[in-house]
Every structure is written in C-alpha cells, then in structure tokens.
C-alpha cells in the first residue's frame, strides 16, 4: 500500500534546483523539469553522494561524485560508472498545490 507524504508546496521546487526532502523516513530528492516533478531515493547506488546535489540535464540527474547518470522518470542507469538503478517514487500535486511523495 502506498502512503503519501507531504514534502512541500509546489512553488518550493524549481527548475535546476534539486531539493532534499524526507518522506516516510526516507531521504528523497525532488527534481523539477518544466511542469513535471520527479522523486528519486536521495543516495547514489555507487557511492556516498546525494542526488539532490546533482546536475539535471536531458531527463537525467548527474551524480556529483563520479558523474554517473540516472533517468529521472524511472531511476534507471543511463551511464557508467553506475550499474544499479536507484529507487524512484511517485509524485502527485494536490488541489491545494501541495507536493506529495508516495512510499510503499
């Protein structure tokens, strides 16, 4: 079962400015690309780096430590040195403009 956790107002999340939040006790990185929001587990699968410190480009986030790329939508690996996908979470925006992340 998915529980939805409030992580902030929609306006808190801007293009080019990944944000670190917490949802259900898990560290989550939120990314905005134009009108869409994405949520990934906020820890690289390759080393001790937070994806909320990464650079967003072409639908991917670039890890700040070794520049590995993860797909924002799915968490799939898009480049070396990564080998393991990162968990992605569903995101929704409520009628009142709040952002919620779903954690199972």
């Amino acid at each position: 079962m998915t529980t939805w956790h409030d992580v902030g107002a929609e306006a808190d999340f801007e293009d080019g400015c990944p944000a670190a939040v917490e949802a259900g006790g898990k560290p989550v990185a939120i990314f905005r690309v134009e009108h869409e929001l994405f949520a990934l587990h906020d820890l690289c699968t390759h080393g001790a780096a937070r994806l909320s410190d990464g650079f967003v480009e072409d639908g991917c986030v670039e890890c700040p430590l070794h520049q590995g790329l993860f797909d924002l939508r799915t968490g799939a690996v898009r480049s070396a040195p990564l080998t393991e996908a990162v968990r992605s979470y569903p995101v929704r925006i409520t009628d009142t403009g709040r952002v919620e992340v779903g954690v199972t």
């Binding site: 801007e14 400015c17 670039e62 700040p64």
Partner: protein, 340 residues
Amino acid sequence: MSGAAVTLLPSGRQFVVADGETVLDAALRAGIALPYQCRSGECGNCRSQCVAGQLEHRPGSTPTALTADDITGGARLLCCATASGTVTLECREVDGIAGIPLRRATARVTAIERAADDIAVLSLELPDGQALEYRAGQYLEVILRDRSRRSYSMATAAVTGGTRRLELHVRHRPGGTFTDHVFGKLKVREMLRIEGPFGTFCLDDRSDKPILLLATGTGFAPVQAILEEAWQQNLQRPITLYWGGRTPADLYRDADCRRWAAERPGLRYVPVLSGDAPDNWDGRRGRVQQAVLDDHPDLTGHEVYACGSSAMIDAARSTLCSERGLPTSAFFADAFIASA
C-alpha cells in the same frame, strides 16, 4: 619521427610532446606545473626561451603577448607552440601548485549579490564532504549545457584541506551566454557544474620583493583572494593594490579596500578612475598602469601581478618593463580576454 623530446631548464625535467599537441598541454599532462593562464597567447605567463631545437608557434595561433623582437630572440609561448625533434627550453616552474588535484563537482548557488548594476557576486557551496583545493589566483571553469566552458577566478582564499564555499565575481556581458543567465534567470539553490582549479596566477613564494597588484573590473576577484591568502600566511611583503575602473561603481568593493588599507600596515590602496570621477573623488584619475608609473621611478626590485582586461595587461607589461626596469620574469598576468 613522431613527437618531440623536451628538456626543461633549469630543472632538467623531461617530457614528450605528441604531434599536434602544444608543449604546454604535454607538460601539464606529464604533471609538470608550468605557468599558464589563458591558453590562448594573451597573458604571456607561459613564455619560455628556446635554447636548442625546433619550437614554433603553430599556424593559426595568436601569440600576442610577444613582440616580433621577442620571437626573433627565441622567446615562445608554450600554449601556442609545438615542438619537433629534441628541444631544450628555459621556463619557470610553479611551486605549490603541483599536486593540487583537478576536480569536477557540482556547486549550489547560495547567494547572488548585485555589487553593482553589472557585477554579481556569486556564493557557491559544494556538497557535503566535497571540497576544492586551490591557491589564491587560480580559477575554475563553469561547464555549460552545450559543454562549453567559462572561466571565473575564485575571489576568496582556500582554507587548508580545501574549501566548500566559493565566491565568484561575474561581470555582465550583454549577449553573453552564461552572464545573461546569471543576470536573468539564475536563482539561489540552482546547481552549477564546475571543474578546477586551473591557472598559475599565484604569488611567487620564493620571493620577498614588494608586491604591486593591478586590477581592472572583476580582475579584482583573484586579487582579493591573493590578499586574503597573504593575510592567512602572515606574509610580511609590502603590498600596494591599484584598482582601476571607469566610474566609482566599477570599484564595487572600494569601501572594503579602504578599510583593509586602514587596518593593515603592510597594505596600500590606490583607486583609479579613467572615466567620470565625482568632484569630491579623492583617488587617482587616468589608467591604473599610469598611476603605477607615476608612483614608481624604478621597479627593478618589485613584482607585479596584473589581472583584468588584456588591454590593461599589455599596456602595463610593456610600459613597466621598458620604462621602469621591471624584469619580464617579475610580471605575472591573468587576462580575461574579453575586456574585463
């Protein structure tokens, strides 16, 4: 034969230059810390003297920091030069830079201060656990989305072991890709991709000569870092800072400089305005290099560090060396290419 074997004097260090590669790139690849800054023939930092063999500026390069006489005399700019066969050359090597790791990182914008209409002071922070080591006077490159790069000098000194917080001074060049972004859409919390440090515009640690710092515009950024580093190290050499701009707003940290000069016995500050100065202006008028010429009949015992527009650097280099006896080896420059 492909490639060239180069021997550096006075150190005797040797390295190989591949076909088509510049001598500077080959030396840096071999881990030899040669002085350089602009990598495009403007600043003159990579000047060397050819002692034996074939060392030529490659076709299409623009070694503007040398005169025709310099070149006839055997001087070459290593960022423009290729080598063939066996070459011996004389070139200064830089202390205290070899061994600083080049690093790629993301940096978050934590503050954007408008120090003047066309000057933004950016505060950046690297992620937790990451740090950048550098010497004052070095610069970093911001990597843009199209993979092109723009250089900005660190404006504060690093702390030992590396620094997470960086300061950059950016002048707006209308029509410029990156600076239009900085003055338009850039937000606090945005991420930039950076790589650094680069360059060798750093105080020569082996010298105890009095120091003249010359800056125009945001050429003040590395100069501020150099001052901070000198204070950190409790440097005893007298320092005079000449900072030039057109209008008072161009000297965007004028008040700080005046305060430092009042507080620090070793520091003198000379602000210089070339354009409209207010009636009550108590600084100098004209060009920075002219102010230096006026103040110093003899510069044989000084070191000059000049940073800013290439016009100022070229003028300062030629007049201070030819008219005041400043040794060319005591003139260090950091050219921002497009006029700073």
